[in-house]
Symmetry: C2
Subunit: 342 residues, 2 copies
């Protein structure tokens, strides 16, 4: 009896190809690869990445780090954590299990990490390279490093997220911004006597442009599965999409069909430049014109009710976070860190 | 020690006020209230709705029905189910536990329900009243009812979802469309000798306009918690928002602050007319200008790092579906039907 739709399916062959291709590219560029585990949230996928040569994992939250400490002893929380007593306690316990580096982008936040200095915590300073989310201008990094030194907290380098690479025609320019700002931040720290072992950048759209002249490591996430955003940005070909939502045609009307996959399985992410609310992997001319919680409205495609199709989510990270499990050929993999937001 | 952020908090007093106010309004309008449980996915909230006078529950999937059969014996799956062997088996087992009505909008799909006719399944025919998602024009309802009769499947009436009411200035006109099309569909069935006990409509934006001259029941969902969409549509006042995501200011920059609540807790829904990616309940002038998975970028608001704020999701149904539990004053409530998409 077939598995009910909608469900999230992973093509393991494509997944492994993606993992090995990214590792080979990083090796060839003499860059360490520290994949972002927020994309897959799966210990099984993390094991494959580490076996292929990843130096460690990137995560977004302490609770994700708690999950991935089971398979990895070198974790980077690439997030400007604000510590309170609860989180400090959790991070202290985590440091007994793994090496942990966390992001900082203010003097205030680095001071709050002081209680963990003796436990071996390292920090990495976040630079704003043009995405204008978190991170500081280059001119502020030395003050943060100085505050860290006063708090006895070890600084291991700098990082940025060039999120403005998620836009048509800006992959190369965002990568250039990243390289310039990270290089300047490293120089500012070293001029102040702070060694900078790690210079970390790289998103899936920008990673192909990363250069070891400045960077020491890259942190792409989405590449493991691919998604409709990367397909439409030209970062990947549709043959590199490893994760799809299997859906059934439940409605058929003169101008459209309706699938049983909506925003509660695909996620509602939609960039301004996206052609629709996801793509049909095997029908590239189809357009998902509307998305409700349990309905995808599709034009440019026709099939009888009951037909199964493979839908590529716009943003795979949020689609995975909606699923409890990923269906592979020989079983299922748990989404171990689903909902791990704290 | 305080609960870590982000987390989803429910104000039980506001929730109960919302439940009782909607029940009073339905009673005064002589309409049965069958709340849509996809909004809260919580047995605890369903119990409150049923205790207040709801005649049953609406759900979107068979798996939601399986969860809510624990507290309710009158369930309507308001969705054009396409039955395969797996789903037929589940629905058959469900019919041993509860009365179940399911949506149909084609001759093909009603025929596939024939194996369940003996188990007491009822169907309700979906009419497209202007949202152009699922549902049929009035001219097609009698043919579906005839196919149901041939398959020995009981038809209990008609329904629609006036989803085009989710837009500024269209609440009243969408409700008028709903009333007109449902009335015509009922008349068409009755002219063909098919009694029409249920004439079911009503979304949260349109429900105030529903009239017992045509409708027999309404199915609003979002009203229990409210959300930023309803606030901006004018359906509710901010005082009626019962669910918020509690977040912490983790970044503070000259032109913005950053909160630790992103699309993995708020959901990424954003209508074209929304002012941002959610609202700050206690700071109505603030704008969430950007949303990443774990960052909300906010302008028009300033506060020191570590400050906690209450964020109102744009669309509460998808935010609840991301959470494993809802935090109330004296504990937590499970999101029992989280991820119940099949």
């Amino acid at each position: 009896m077939s598995r009910p739709t909608p469900h999230v399916a992973v093509d393991r062959d494509v997944l492994e190809d993606n993992i090995h291709a990214m590792q080979r590219a990083a090796d060839a560029a003499r860059l360490a690869l520290r994949p972002h585990a927020k994309t897959h949230k799966s210990l099984q996928v993390a094991r494959l990445q580490l076996a292929a040569g990843a130096v460690g994992l990137t995560v977004a939250t302490v609770s994700e780090a708690e999950v991935f400490a089971e398979v990895c002893d070198d974790l980077f929380v690439a997030y400007p954590l604000w510590m309170d007593d609860e989180r400090t306690g959790r991070l202290r316990r985590l440091l007994d299990r793994a090496g942990v580096t966390v992001g900082v982008d203010s003097v205030d936040s680095v001071r709050r990490l002081a209680p963990l200095a003796g436990a071996g915590l390292r920090v990495r300073i976040e630079v704003d390279s043009g995405h204008h989310r978190s991170g500081v201008p280059v001119g502020e990094v030395l003050a943060i490093a100085t505050a860290a030194a006063e708090a006895d907290v070890a600084v291991d380098g700098v990082f940025t997220f060039p999120g403005h690479s998620y836009s048509p025609d800006s992959r190369a320019s965002a990568a250039a911004d990243e390289q310039r700002e990270l290089g300047a931040a490293r120089d500012a720290l070293e001029a102040g006597g702070v060694p900078c072992a790690a210079v970390s950048g790289g998103s899936t759209p920008s990673v192909a442009y990363a250069r070891a002249e400045v960077l020491t490591e890259v942190r792409p996430g989405v590449y493991v599965f691919g998604d409709a955003q990367q397909w439409e940005l030209g970062t990947i070909a549709p043959q590199q999409v490893a994760l799809t939502v299997v859906a059934t045609v439940v409605g058929r009307y003169p101008d459209r069909v309706v699938l049983d996959a909506g925003s509660k399985v695909l996620g509602a992410d939609r960039s301004s430049w996206a052609t629709g609310h996801g793509r049909l992997l095997d029908h590239p001319d189809a357009v998902i014109t509307a998305l409700s919680e349990h309905h995808a409205t599709v034009t440019g495609f026709d099939a009888p009710r009951g037909t199964r199709v493979r839908v590529v989510p716009n943003h795979v990270c949020t689609a995975v976070n909606l699923a409890d499990e990923l269906v592979v050929a020989d079983g299922t993999w748990r989404v171990d860190a689903r909902g791990a937001n704290t």
